[in-house]
Amino acid sequence: MAKSIDVQDLDIFYGDFKAVEGVSMTIKAKSVTAFIGPSGCGKSTFLRSLNRMHEVIPGARVEGKVMVDGMSLYDPIVDPVEVRRRIGMVFQRPNPFPTMSIYENVLAGNRLNNKRMPKSEADDVVEKSLRGANLWNEVKDRLGKPGMGLSGGQQQRLCIARAIAVEPEVLLMDEPCSALDPISTAAVEDLIHDLKSSYTIVIVTHNMQQAARVSDDTGFFNLKAAGKPGHLVEFNPTKQMFTNPDSPDTEAYISGRFG
């Protein structure tokens, strides 16, 4: 079940440093939401606060509300491990587990949590996830080989397969294509298109064309000045954002007249 996410007045800190300030937005279910903005404005930080990965860093904390399905993620009774199980994440750099084969990498979410399943079911999950990640045809003959032996683009799609194998409700992607060549990028973009029908997807990208191609809604983050916290300048349907943005800053950034 894909879920929508409701963020209300979120401040995000690294120790005493406030990295992101006052973000409010509604991320729709079964749609693709893109975040754009200059480097260091807090896109990754914000994304990681949506599945409680932010607090993995020592001293990192959050103030404000993130509501998923009517439940506040940062409620003290909420288990962060459970949250991450429901809200998956793909990172900027592909990071398959080096000790595992392709097959084991896909099943990592299940195996690491000691979920036992019969061989036939495991095979099905692997095939379904790899097909879902557009990788099945390339690796079906070498599932037992190490995941690190794949090319960068294949590794990233393997990580996507690993993330969707646990059937999360939301998939967060932090610049998933920034380390990839154009062909792999196109493959991942196609994939995002296909995944939209069953997942809520949030993607950070440096590439404005990519945001325009894949997303339904776009959020533009910016910094008022160096050392100040990042903030959300504008959040609108992608079409409107790229043709008729509300804010002159957005227009300046999108048309490349920035800074």
Binding site: M53, R85, K145
Partner: protein, 359 residues
């Protein structure tokens, strides 16, 4: 006005011919031998002198012909190789010595009997010492590895940057410097506290060795865990895997090759300890398989004892050495071989568990 003789920017420089080092080496040896013979020196001094001549002469020739940079290069190359040779000589010498003196006495009988009831010129054996070494070292490993590993996991995964972690790191460093005899006395006083003043058993030695091993295990495991990229931990967290399971199933398997290597190196460091075992486990002529009762001999203690009380030279024999000396050398050889095998095993395990790149 004098014109500059050489074109200012030429890429080509004269080079010494390829046979130059060989010629210089032969010349150095000849000069060295001549001088040595005149002065009546021994062969070692001659070789040293020749080496010194070579190290200086080749760069000097190069300085004249090739220029400053090439000469420096040759001098440094010679010095590095010289240092390497200086390090190798004692090692090879030691090995040669042990093999030469020990190998003839390492027989099947030697490896399969103990010293029980051996006197005079009777042939004894080291089976009880091998048994003791294996048991004591294994017990020490069983004690030290879990403690060391968990300490390392705490330091890297939980305590990063905290005050407690800093204190522990400091204490581990201090522990590294504890003299082994102090560890032995500590283990002894610990056991005496519980079991009375005359208590001697293998377990005391195991505790002392564990004390010496733990800091090495902590240090090497820490280093290995630190090398595991935090990307992998985050990837695991993002799949909804709890932290303890991430450590157990992602971090540890990634680092296990290096950790095993570190453990084996720690073992080979303590396997040769003598003093702490002498005070805790004592010495004994017969087999003793019980870690918790009775004196237990290990190889280093055996060697020490054979050297201390070597027995009398058999009557009528021309050999100058009493039988204990031969046994000591043979046991030393066996100990070195055991350490070598351990190191080999460490390498193999490291290879097997190293993360597969598939390329």
């Amino acid at each position: 006005m004098n014109a500059v003789a050489v074109a200012p920017s030429t890429l080509a420089h004269p080079r010494l011919p390829r046979w130059a080092p060989l010629v210089v080496a032969v010349a150095a040896l000849a000069v060295g031998a001549l001088l040595g013979l005149i002065l009546g020196w021994g062969p070692v001094a001659i070789v040293l002198l020749s080496g010194l001549l070579y190290v200086v002469a080749l760069p000097a020739w190069s300085r004249v012909l090739e220029g400053r940079r090439a000469a420096t290069d040759r001098l440094m190359t010679n010095l590095v190789w010289g240092a390497f040779a200086v390090v190798c000589v004692p090692l090879l010498w030691l090995l040669w010595n042990v093999v030469q003196k020990g190998a003839p006495h390492v027989t099947v009988h030697f490896l399969t009997t103990s010293m029980r009831g051996v006197f005079g010129s009777m042939e004894g054996g080291i089976l009880h010492a091998i048994q003791g070494t294996v048991i004591v070292t294994l017990a020490a490993t069983v004690i030290a590895v879990p403690i060391g590993l968990m300490t390392a996991i705490y330091l890297i995964e939980y305590g990063r940057g905290s005050r407690l972690a800093k204190v522990i790191t400091f204490l581990v460093d201090v522990m590294t410097g504890i003299p082994s005899i102090v560890a032995g006395l500590f283990a002894l006083s610990l056991l005496v506290l519980f079991f009375g003043p005359a208590f001697r058993a293998g377990i005391g030695g195991a505790i002392a060795l564990a004390l010496l091993m733990t800091p090495t295990v902590v240090r090497s495991a820490e280093e290995m865990l630190r090398l595991v990229p935090s990307d992998l931990r985050e990837a695991s967290f993002a799949l909804g895997v709890p932290k303890w399971r991430t450590i157990l199933k992602v971090v540890m398997p990634t680092a296990i090759g290096g950790i095993v290597t570190g453990v084996v190196l720690a073992i080979s460091r303590v396997i040769g300890e003598t003093a702490p075992l002498l005070v805790t486990a004592g010495y004994n002529d017969s087999m003793n398989g019980n870690l918790f009762s009775g004196r237990m001999t290990t190889l280093p203690v055996y060697i020490f004892n054979q050297y201390k009380t070597p027995g009398a030279v058999p009557l009528g024999a021309h050999a100058a050495d009493p039988p204990g000396y031969a046994r000591a050398w043979a046991a030393a050889l066996v100990l070195i071989v055991i350490v070598m095998i351990l190191n080999l095993i460490a390498r193999i395990i490291g290879k097997i568990f190293a993360p597969k790149t598939g390329r």
